[in-house]
Symmetry: C2
Subunit: 467 residues, 2 copies
């Protein structure tokens, strides 16, 4: 039983974690109203909502219905809405509507989102629509779409505001007013020469607080922070965060201004990078699509590699155990402590690696700090090892007598120390060879610590128990 | 041998990962110049740099020198610079300078950063400076400092721009011009009534493109996105990202406007949350400070809890092995496969958990999708298990004959299936009981899979080998 709420009284519950439930609920209601021909009520409702929320509703609607609802909005709102939809939904809509409508819609989109959509279309669809664009737009589209996925160029937009250096602040504000409909942001304006080389940046705030007859060239920042179009997109996101920018100018290799990266796009890049890092430190290979949409084959492929690789690591541990079969046969009580000792080495190592990977990523720790950190880590690991040895040796006395307790205690200290030092060193070694330290965490550390743990444990046992 | 570069020719290398090296290098140079009394050269250099970079240099300077260099800047720049410094450096500087200077400096700071610094000071210092502020600032400081660390209130600022609803767009722009020095942003302005209740929001862009005599009340968005001051700060960050906002208004429980959260502060919150999530999915307890600055005791405390907890998990595995001592004694070849089988269960489980935790966090997957995903996971796990069983059973034939090979193959399929299903279910169970699914990843899954893996392996062995 669902409560019937007229759409006009509905408010998105923004406090809840899951606005998806709201969207699905409203989508059903909208479908009903559209079926009853009450498109005017639907129009009023969606016009009163934020476009990001309307996009969430559109995603929940069946094909054709989504298009019908979308068309209730103005062309400008439709274009902005499209940018909020998932890439797959964008393509689905783009392939449904007439070519002329698609070109009109794409012309109204912001330049970066338009290029992203264009890249998603298949070659046939691309060739079909390209001639319908005006020449300048066609070239812009081709140029933006040409940047590789991981570059700054692929996230920048070319609809930025520009000013001539000799304008007065009053004239400049007037010029920005006329660019306000087209430009992605007018809060920063870029001052370029005839070759589009960047001379400076001025904020609308600075223009407003300047004296009316002061010239742009006197107010502008002549050494703004910028980034290259072929740099990694993460670079742009870092600069935006470090310098608290609303937009970052992008230059090509001839120092010409080719675009800007806005703060909201930089934020999206950061979120993508976080997901990528998340997978990098895990034993799953990155999946390009949503997990919910992934096929069985995709999931299999993302997982089998690491599973098989780690099995090989464990074969060495197994071989280590097999090598000490005589010791084990003589003292089966040793087996009780095997999982616990081996796991402790891996756990201590994972901890050190976790701390170092994060600290290297945030810049808290630099590769040069290695020596200083290593001796501190040794002390911490020794203290941890001794604590664990004391706890475990009491169980050792109970399960196997004082001799076994000694073996277990000594093994625990050595194994924790060994694990921690490996976990600490590997990220630095990776960083040294320009690899991502995140790849050195968890599984690799555990595999190495496992093998060495087996060897340390049974070597100590063989020596102390005199076999 | 270092190359001597005059400061004036120095450029921060923003392409490099590590601007810290630059900062340290420049700091040495600046110290030398200050020692030679060339403070004018230093002033020219730091005035030409971004304040975020100057802050990095100041951090590298010894005490007293940092203050001397900072004082070369204007009061306004000093105040902004202070906000870029680490909290500990801010406090160090605040306790060095005279009370009157500190109050002047803090009065020029943005309201949120001022409150953050105030909170860092000890009670004595707080009481010493508070009376020196003007009444309005004193109250603002007290109010902002009162919000708890995790709330929206603790990251919002109170220096936002406001407008009366009956102003024309031209008058409104004029009003914003006069607020430009004080307000954190003038790109959004907030329209409030006499009780400070939020009536609407208008962007400077909308004001600029409006007709000159159009009134603010006609242009403003009357249903802006907002957030409560006592909501979690993560909530504000999510709204800023979802709706691509430059600033988000914050209301108290009486719907009065009390502050705004700017996009750059929202970005900082996101980064904090990422670090927190990173630790949550790991076996290290969160460390409040930089890892490089943490003491041995802090590191010990952050690590010992999980290490000991996981040892207890492994005692169960050990007990499981001890329970099957007879089987093992009769077939020591089984030990070779022990590490490999147990680890595979934990690895498959960690993979499922990784995928689900991330998908639940990004909203890719909803708790309601559980049933659909479970059957797919079972198929994937079965395929993975069979692949691994085939690979491992060939080694089984070689190490222990066809009987052992059968045991190992069957155990592998069961263990991988068991591990994967546990890894898939735990995050959903955590989500169901409103716990963070991230806490259900890695260590917990591995511990459970380890114990069950031992039991499954030796039970199958005991049955098939007829003991």
């Amino acid at each position: 039983m669902t409560v019937q709420t007229p759409l006009s009284e509905f408010r998105f519950d923004r406090d809840s974690e899951d606005t998806g439930i709201d969207a699905g609920f409203i989508a059903v209601e909208i479908q009903r109203l559209m079926g009853e021909g009450q498109s005017q009520a639907v129009r009023e409702f969606i016009e009163s909502q934020e476009l990001a929320d309307v996009a969430a509703i559109i995603e929940e609607l069946p094909e054709n219905d989504d298009l019908e609802v979308m068309r209730l909005l103005s062309l400008h709102d439709q274009a902005e809405l499209l940018g909020y939809l998932r890439p797959s939904s964008q393509v689905a809509i783009a392939t449904c509507i007439r070519r002329r409508d698609l070109v009109a819609l794409m012309s109204a989109m912001s330049h970066d989102e338009r290029a992203d959509l264009y890249k998603q279309l298949d070659a046939e669809a691309q060739e079909a629509i390209l001639p319908a664009f005006a020449k300048a737009e066609r070239e812009d589209l081709r140029r933006l779409a040409a940047y590789e996925e991981w570059t700054v160029g692929s996230v920048m937009t070319s609809d930025y505001a520009t000013l001539a250096p000799d304008l007065t602040s009053t004239q400049a504000i007037e010029a920005l007013r006329s660019q306000a409909i087209e430009a992605e942001t007018i809060y920063y304006a870029y001052i370029i020469d005839a070759e589009r080389r960047l001379l400076g940046v001025v904020s609308l705030r600075d223009l407003l607080t300047a004296r009316p007859r002061q010239r742009v060239s006197e107010i502008m920042d002549t050494e703004p922070v910028w980034v290259r179009a072929d740099a990694e997109q993460e670079e742009a996101a870092k600069l935006v965060a470090r310098y608290d920018l609303l937009a970052l100018p992008v230059l090509d290799n001839n120092d010409r201004l080719v675009g800007i990266v806005t703060a909201d796009d930089a934020m999206d890049v950061t979120e993508e990078e976080v997901t990528e890092d998340f997978y990098k430190g895990s034993i799953v290979q990155p999946i390009e699509m949503s997990v919910a949409e992934a096929t069985i084959a995709t999931l299999y492929k993302a997982r089998i590699f690491w599973l098989v690789l780690l099995v090989f690591g464990n074969i060495f541990s197994g071989a280590g155990i097999a090598y000490f079969e005589d010791t084990i046969a003589a003292h089966l009580a040793l087996l009780f402590f095997l999982p616990l000792l081996i796991a402790s080495g891996g756990n201590a190592g994972t901890q050190s690696a976790t701390l170092m990977v994060r600290a290297l990523a945030t810049g808290d720790v630099r590769p040069a700090d290695f020596g200083k950190l290593l001796s501190r880590e040794a002390v911490v690991a020794l203290t941890l090892g001794v604590t664990m040895a004391v706890a475990v040796s009491t169980i050792g006395v109970w399960r196997g007598g004082p001799e076994i307790a000694w073996v277990v205690a000594l093994a625990m200290i050595s194994i924790v120390l060994m694990g921690a030092l490996i976990g600490m060193c590997l990220p630095f070694i990776f960083a040294k060879f320009n690899r991502d330290p995140a790849a050195a965490s968890g599984p690799l550390v555990t595999s190495i610590a496992d093998v060495l743990g087996v060897l340390i444990y049974f070597t100590i046992a063989t020596q102390l128990l005199g076999l």
